[in-house]
Symmetry: C2
Subunit: 338 residues, 2 copies
Amino acid sequence: MTAVLPPGVTRGREAFRVAMSAALDRLHPRLRLVSAYHRGWVDVDGTPLPEGGGKLLRPALAMLGAEGVGADAEVAMPGAVASELVHDFSLLHDDLMDGDTERRHRPTAWVAFGMGPAVLAGDGLLSLATDLVQEVDTPAGRHAERILARAVARLVHGQADDLEFESRGDVTFAEYLTMASGKTGALLACSASIGAALAGAPDRTVEGLAAFGEQLGLAFQLVDDLLGLWGDPQVTGKPVLSDLRARKKSAPVVMALEGGGPGTDRLRAYLAGGDEPNEQALRELAEIVTTLGGAERVSAEVERRLALADAALAGIPLVDTVRADLLAAARYVTARDR
Amino acid sequence: MTAVLPPGVTRGREAFRVAMSAALDRLHPRLRLVSAYHRGWVDVDGTPLPEGGGKLLRPALAMLGAEGVGADAEVAMPGAVASELVHDFSLLHDDLMDGDTERRHRPTAWVAFGMGPAVLAGDGLLSLATDLVQEVDTPAGRHAERILARAVARLVHGQADDLEFESRGDVTFAEYLTMASGKTGALLACSASIGAALAGAPDRTVEGLAAFGEQLGLAFQLVDDLLGLWGDPQVTGKPVLSDLRARKKSAPVVMALEGGGPGTDRLRAYLAGGDEPNEQALRELAEIVTTLGGAERVSAEVERRLALADAALAGIPLVDTVRADLLAAARYVTARDR
């Protein structure tokens, strides 16, 4: 399954980059450097790099949300930038908390600059995101503020769930979904709805877009978990079987355990902790997850979530071309060569 | 110089504790535990401790601000709690960034719970602070929101300055003041003014209270720096000469270097980095700072800042007893046995 980046996702990219750059300019120079490095815009010494990676999905959703209700994409910009800033904030802190040393084939920010600058850059980005939306001093701006604040609170809650999972031997799929709703669903719900909110759209439309983003977020996280187990290191930028190596209670593992069957005990014992596994043991554990139907069941769940995302959009009035762009974006970001 | 905790600082304490506790209840249980531990409310396993330390200066200032303009202290509560939450957020991240292992004679949160939970608890507190003030959906609430957001942005900026200082051989006193304004002045300015803002006081009054808090913050930081060099470890909870040991460009050191004289070169060479110093070398360096007038000049600057704080209050209409409480609070928190 492959896909081409839909035009709805790429269209506003240049305007976003200008706005994002202006926002980062408000940061302390040191934190701006760390943030620009993290985004792939510059090298450790500040040398500009050719257009950095990143799908810019969140800003694209925000801009599409405004366009979907007949407004100009520019109306969504404070929300588009804020969503991306919150995303960067969470990644900066996440990489540190997880001890991840590489992201997109480069050293993570805390490795490149040290722990202090990475923590503080994250703090600065979160503060900046709040500021940008707060500065839209209209009722629509306040609606957007509440959407952003709720997303941040849920995001932190989801990350805390994820942390908690580390010290637990077993996790149900329902618990996994609650965690993923917070960790990934909340910010995508915010991104998909904040543009329409800034455009002053009716609550029902804003909520429909939020539901779309939420389901897309879950689908996205499930795909990420599939890649974390079986993804090609060249594509994911992470070592093979990385989630299993880190004993993550990722979706395929949780699904495999919940289904039960041969190898469950061995898998559960491994997840509970112990010695560093060798490559052979990891491959055997991954095989157990596959045999127990972990991959298949997660793939089915991805499709179910995408159908729910589609259904959320079906219920609300939207500009037709934008609806098509949103659906294409959902398909694209969940394809990712799984 | 000693002082008794003025009644204005202690009066609202019980009401604050109730509101703070309700706010922390909104956090993920894991983050609530880390936060309550950090506050000295509970042990690592959640066992309640006898009334934890902390002067609760920030909430006291917020409540006094409301009372000073004739409102009930309760009006200030979202701002009082938010100020203290931002304070806790910054300490949680600061302890980690500085690698500090003890606070008030207990292991710091990142030592007790790990880096991840400490970072995430800080994030959760910052998000919660924003939420509390945002929920006051009135023009006064929006004024308070802007005050809080500005304080957080300046706080992060000041901490980034402080980080930057670590990699520099020399820092001017003007640069030091800019850093301290952000790191300590900004949040005290917020605390002192947010209660009056929530009470709907005129801008001039709110700004006067902010100026009072800002100057008090600078005085407070200068005293902290004096204690960081010559404070009694029993009182400060930090090892003797800790700031010098950490090669901090603290106020007495910066003042000593800026004044110039014998020993300046040796002091500057030490601050630039090198081997772990022994106790004898540290005592000699402290002696150089004293001889160069570092302590004296910082003490004089404390008095100057306190006079400016008083002057800021003199220009605005305030309930007389509250004005006296604020002045007493300023004297109290800058006394601290220096």
